[in-house]
Subunit: 356 residues, 4 copies
């Protein structure tokens, strides 16, 4: 189901070119003052058209709160949010039913739903469905901040151009502040030109390009999470794999740790100002599925967006013949800059679900 | 909770040095004949002491079925399995409470459980808890096989020594058959010596070494899974991150796809013998969270086992001072060969949960 | 959480006097043609103002489908429904915060939500929240009907005036048809006058009156449900107790069976036209938590609506003193006739959750 | 599934005449000292053979704790309990497969499990499965007691003989203490003879007799529970309907309230010693699904146990003919006295699930 959470529950609904999209977020504690500007900021970071790398199709994502927030304060009742669709052009997608687009859910959804799903603009599979996730994340991260838990992410790479990584034992508050409000979030801002260059090259080639997003959760109390299927890694990955296009996730040293010796990978404990810390943080702040008080760090891999104008090989499901297809329209050649806010939102929802 | 599943439910219990460990597996259809030898084979693949790379501490893992299977046939009632602990030496672990072992859950569990958790041998956090997971996986994969779904994994790497990868568009049945019954499962068997050499070097250095496991699920029907939080990636990763020491997971081209162009990463559709296939399989058999009928392929990264005899820096929680520790006893320097069967089991449970 | 279901998931949101109310219904199979008129009929049965016994406050409940249904056919994506509130008079309720109304959730919600819940018109606790439940029930019962499962309920009693009960071994289809479309559903229509008389007397006394609703589910396949916590009784009661004002539920002979001997209460099996039936149906179609193929019959007890214009004793939470209160406005003296459609909807949701 | 709980999770396994029965109870906080004698007392209250009204078949129910409790203290890991079956006579039940016993799950389970379920002694449907529920309840009620929440039940009726009811606004601690440790729990002990007479008459008639159990939960904090499907009534009823033979449940005035006027049924608020109370308690301590701080009171209806030695009509599923059957062996003519402890346990589990 299109639902996330254990103690909270986020339900996401809507289709790209239907009446609208939205979500219901349950079990948010009553009495928290929600700053609407902070919600709009996060939604703007995700929305296309804010940045020159993004799709020219302008979406206006105004979240209309239908319940659960009264006079700016959470009531404890489910928070329902609705975002109207303004773009309902259906014509561009008329041949999808017959010719599934490579890399998209067209074929698999066709089989799962017996051809009855809404195919316009990807329907319920559209990346547009991340807007309600960002909304919900923007609500809960405000409550997390009151608990001293801060979340930020950045573009760790686009194609082969890499940003610096977080120093996992020391993530300054100012960096978190800065990254979590930017639309092209980088630790090393000098990489922006090279990254934009990669995207621009892909665009000129009628192509797209993938990337990775690195996320940090700072201020997590020690002792959250649990063994086996209750571990933080599983909880966060369930949320993050809910974002379309994510194909991998790693915590701390992640895949790199598979090449290391125990003596290299183990993080030594030490007292610092009377508090237990680890002097390195290869475990990404998680030991035995439980937070150790250090920053939680993970990276998510985004495949290149499958919508490309180039001709591709596909099948005609109607005629049963092989054929070709080029996806019309103008496409966003790289969703990674916009995905930063979505990863932060997913992380916020996972953390909130564990700490409330 | 130590529970996995949505339609099924697997509950794992026990502590490493308590009376025993076990599991309850609910919602397995009635009337399936279960081959006990196949269960024992899988449990033997996981058990230490079967292979010369493994820990010399010999564990006898006899799963005693307490309910749910009568005369070798599932009854539809919960399947309960109990494995007695024969090793209950507690002496080796006496100083853990004061000095948490780096890389272990000692410190985080101490905080979470207020120092009341069973610390002997890692307690509920012990890798030994994967034995019931393998048991449960060995039950459900037999039912999956009757549905034409086969699962196998192999040691994709130990340290820097890599095995071949699966050809994701063509995984022969014989390969699956072979890998899923071996205790040192490799596609390219010539890599065995180099891998064992890595492990032996680590052992001689009183150290340990990590690795990766690659897993394939063949025969998955098209149309299983769902959008957003219901995607196959999230469902499998929830199961796989339930295995202690897993720090990363990637599907199909995974992190590599983040460096690719859309035109490189998209998998073209084609008809082959009247059936829709993809000519490449960078998506790992999953589009929009839903199976496309091609093999599902994923890789999991295992950190090096944190138990090493070398001296390491840690803290004394009692005295509040920094100190050192070397974990006594003989340790398994590389759990990756044994982890192969656990990854297969986790994949089997995730798949079973989606297809029943 | 305001959520029901295991295989499906119904999420209900909204406050009585906020922007609106609604629901999201997940996991409805794709490809079912939904008859909007049947939805509107059920919602009209629940809506006040349709019947002269009901509240004069006219509510217009137009369910606006935001997603999940395209051209009248389910798409498989979450079905989101929104109902705008037209009545947002808040003035009448200004003194609730200080003086909790007896029998209402004012006091308990005040404590649970730290006084931050939306108190206008009962907020999220309003009986108005049953409208989305009826909507969702009206969707799934159409799919159930295609599977041969039909549901109907009737006013079993108002005060001391009782309708006939269902003959639990033989519920004619025509009766189900008739009851499930009426706004004052009775098996024995001659009881209508007496029942309306009870309601009218209560109204004239500035009072209200309770009642019971009896519901039948016909055509349930044999073998649905399960032992212990998976039994049909528990699944249906979870849904039915989700309806505000329900304080009791009984299946088959229910509380009466507690007075019987086993020889009286046991339902004999017999073959009828080659099919196994029971010659009586004291078990209400459920044995060991599992359906036996006979009609499932249950009764729900509704307390009298707590909104009455009479003066009642209460407390002033602000001043800490005992005080009195009379609930202003015109009240529906008996919600039971309208509750019939809500009980049917709850039953439909519970059954759908078990059979899909 | 045979599972209960939201924050906790209780999984019950086993068959009446298999190797044994048991349960796993997850998410019990660490560090609670568990008094084994209190567990054994509760299990003895449930076990047959303790009281002369009970079945002569002597069961020895020794709960063996396999994990989760170390040196008498909860560790935070899942608590696993196993109870060996000593009675494995299978011969008595040989004809059940062909001739389903009226009132039992034989027929419905036969259909659900395709005839593959363990039919010996009722298998997983046996009342014996309530033993692990009592075990789990006996664990959590000790933790509840430390929070000031006490639970007791009594035999409210057997056949037509009724005990007094709780005074719902004032349940003395001594009464709770007394009832919750008795094997034939009555408020008015003078009713014991008449009740035992009813049972004896049923026994002499080769018959059985039903009854009701009334349960009180005292000390519940105000503000627990929630609206709609999160209400206390639904949560408790899910647990109580998990007990075999329960066919009805009512809270507070329950079905009686359906005959009342609002002015009679509403419970007035008043201050008493600076605390808000209600002067009556028809709502059973629950308003809007949320606790109001008054005792929570509910009654559960038990049908007469279906095992009777009298000849009954049934079918021969093999031959397709109507036939007769008398259930051999000696039967417990009334399970209600023993059911008292099971109802208390179910209530304790439901409450624990809500307050932790």
């Amino acid at each position: 189901m299109s639902t996330y959470g254990d103690k909270i529950r986020l339900t996401v609904f809507g289709e790209s070119h239907g009446a609208g999209i939205g979500c219901v977020l349950e079990n948010v504690t009553s009495g928290f003052e929600i700053d609407t500007d902070k919600i709009l900021l996060q939604m703007a970071r995700r929305a296309p058209g804010k940045d020159k790398t993004a799709t020219p199709r302008l979406e206006k994502d105004f979240p209309i709160i239908k319940s659960g927030i009264l006079d700016g304060v959470t009531t404890g009742a489910p928070i329902a949010c609705f975002i109207e669709n303004t773009n309902t052009r259906s014509g561009d997608y008329s041949n999808i039913l017959d010719k599934p687009r490579p890399g998209h859910a067209d074929y698999t959804a066709y089989v799962k739903y017996n051809g009855k799903n809404d195919i316009r603009g990807g329907g319920h599979f559209s990346g547009r469905l991340t807007a309600p996730i960002v909304f919900a994340g923007a609500v809960v991260r405000q409550i997390l901040e009151q608990k001293g838990i801060k979340i930020a992410a950045h573009i760790a790479s686009i194609g082969n151009v890499e940003d610096e990584r977080f120093n996992p034992v020391n993530v300054p508050d100012e960096l978190i502040e800065k990254l979590s409000s930017e639309s092209f979030a980088l630790i090393d801002e000098t990489k922006e030109d090279a990254m934009r260059g990669e995207v621009e090259k892909a665009r000129l080639d009628l192509d797209s390009i993938g990337g990775t997003v690195e996320c940090v959760i700072k201020g997590m109390p020690v002792g959250v999470g649990g063994p086996l299927f209750d571990g933080i890694e599983g909880r966060i990955s369930s949320a993050v794999f809910g974002i379309p296009a994510v194909k991998g996730i790693e915590f701390g040293a992640g895949f790199e740790s598979s090449k290391l010796r125990g003596s290299e990978n183990n993080d030594s404990f030490a007292f610092e100002n009377g508090k237990v810390i680890t002097t390195t943080n290869n475990c990404g702040g998680i030991l035995g599925g439980i937070s150790d008080g250090m920053p939680i760090v993970f990276r998510a891999a985004f495949k290149p967006t499958p919508s490309i104008a180039r001709e591709q090989n596909t099948v005609n499901l109607g005629s049963g013949e092989n054929t070709t297809l080029s996806v019309k329209g103008r496409h966003d050649p790289c969703i990674v800059p916009r995905a930063v806010s979505v990863v932060e939102a997913a992380a916020a929802l996972a953390v909130f679900d564990m700490v409330i």
